[in-house]
């Protein structure tokens, strides 16, 4: 079961001996259990699954990945036209689907 969504911790409190928190997901807030992330701070991001925080999102790693994605995005924008080794023009969006369509 994998649906884990990143959210920002906006509040922490204890309830019946468990560390709980309120997590914000793009404007929607829900209570979650933060017992497995005892060191998480308010303002940090966590991945929430089934009402539990399972990891503290590493924002440095996230940033690095996003920078890489941005570079990829720029490369895509530049390479609007590409040519394969048979000399056929191949556009970036062509994959198996495009080949089936006879592009």
């Amino acid at each position: 079961m994998c649906l884990g969504i990143p959210g920002r911790v906006v509040e922490k409190h204890e309830q019946e001996g468990l560390l709980m928190g309120v997590v914000d997901f793009g404007g929607v807030r829900r209570t979650a259990c933060l017992a497995y992330l005892p060191e998480i701070e308010i303002g940090e991001y966590t991945i929430i699954h089934a009402g539990f925080g399972i990891s503290r999102l590493d924002e440095d790693e996230a940033r690095q990945t996003l920078e890489l994605l941005a570079e990829l995005g720029e490369a895509e924008a530049l390479a609007q036209v590409d040519v394969n080794d048979r000399g056929e023009v191949v556009s970036p969006a062509v994959g198996a689907e495009g080949r089936q369509a006879g592009v």
Binding site: M1, G4, A32, Y36, A50, G51, I54, L69, G73
Partner: protein
């Protein structure tokens, strides 16, 4: 939404597909074992963006799909009892048992409820001491920490009217079973990012080494999945077979230690039957001795349940990746989401349901 939507950037997705196409000089077969990843791949058509040389085979990554028929029948038997309030994740309600499903039990008057978290079920038990509240604890390792905490809390607070019906499964034994099969074609795996968030990825290192298969820990958004594929294809092209982490924003090699610690305390490893695959040794979790009082199977005496699968259902082959859903004779005819024969057609992560829903109804995987 921050840290989610940026990983769907369509330009980056297309460029990654281009790079994968450039990297793959020969055909390769990859498998993901995670329902969430299957869902994204089929829904976003990522497999169609890839070159023909890179083939995706969908593995048994949907815990709803692999929950054994006997366990579904047990759940139904327990849910029917008048004193029971049966709580479950939404996906489980439509999974067919031998002759009915939990949704039908609900419509016949059973107190069956959808919850988002096992702590919600525990809270319900505290609020209603007159009811026996049972939670259907299904899932891979990702959900085990949540279920462990609910049981541990129940014991700590003395909530005696709470119990769990456990059907947890573990990923590494499934990979070993797949690799040991003589019909296996899979050459590299994408490991489930949230399973590894909890467990880390040290368990995969001996597997990669022994079978010489790259295993790339991968996330769930379109760019995450294609990055995982690119990493896997690169390793295959270079003849390497390592465990690589392509989801480092959430996964560390050691994983979440407090979670693992509580899992070890509340659960023990057991042999488990996987629906469609048969019994895999040491592939599941059950409650440990100290927490056995909270085991719904014992509390409600439903151990003797016989289960029969419909003969036409080939879920096992689909789950092993040896049969494409739309190549099954029953697909779209006898077996549809309205009248499913097996679990992969019911669960939103099941490969059969994903194919059906997103239009892969013709053989060969093309939309009509």
């Amino acid at each position: 939404m921050k840290y989610l939507e940026e990983f769907r950037d369509p330009k980056a997705v297309r460029e990654l597909a281009v790079r994968i196409a450039a990297k793959a000089t020969r055909p390769w077969v990859l498998m993901e074992i995670c329902g969430g990843q299957t869902h994204t791949i089929v829904k976003q058509g990522l497999d169609r963006l890839l070159p023909e040389s890179v083939e995706f085979v969908h593995g048994p990554g949907c815990p709803v799909c692999v929950t054994p028929l006997e366990q579904i029948d047990r759940a139904i038997a327990i849910a029917r009892r008048p004193e029971v309030t049966f709580c479950s994740f939404g996906d489980m309600l439509r999974v067919p048992g031998s002759d009915t499903d939990l949704l039908e039990v609900k419509s016949a008057g059973g107190d069956v409820r959808i919850v988002y978290s096992p702590l919600d079920a525990l809270a319900l038990a505290q609020k209603r001491p007159d009811r026996q509240v049972v939670f259907f604890a299904v899932g891979f390792e990702t959900t085990a920490p949540a279920n462990a905490m609910a049981v541990a809390q129940a014991k700590r607070l003395g909530v005696e009217n709470f119990s769990v019906l456990v059907s947890h499964v573990l990923v590494p034994p499934a990979i070993l079973t797949l690799l040991a099969s003589p019909t296996n074609r899979v050459q590299a795996f994408l490991a489930a990012g949230h399973v590894c968030t909890v467990m880390g990825y040290t368990e995969y290192e001996p597997i990669a080494a022994k079978y010489h298969v790259p295993i790339v820990v991968t996330g769930f958004e379109p760019t995450d999945i294609l990055e995982g594929v690119l990493a896997a294809v690169t390793q295959l092209e270079e003849g390497r077979a390592e465990v690589e982490n392509a989801y480092a924003r959430s996964v560390t090699r050691q994983g979440n230690q407090p979670a693992q610690s509580l899992i070890r305390e509340v659960f023990q490893v057991t042999d488990r039957k996987w629906r469609g695959l048969g019994s895999i040794p040491s592939s599941g979790l059950s409650l440990s001795e100290a927490y056995r009082d909270f085991d719904a199977e014992l509390r409600f005496d439903v151990l003797d349940v016989r289960a029969e699968e419909p003969a036409a259902c080939r879920a096992g082959e689909v789950l092993m990746g040896t049969l494409r859903p739309n190549a099954c004779e029953a697909f779209g005819t006898l077996c549809t989401p309205e009248h499913p024969l097996g679990a992969p057609m019911v669960s939103s992560e099941g490969a059969c349901a994903a194919y059906y829903r997103y239009g892969r109804t013709a053989p060969g995987g093309t939309a009509p």
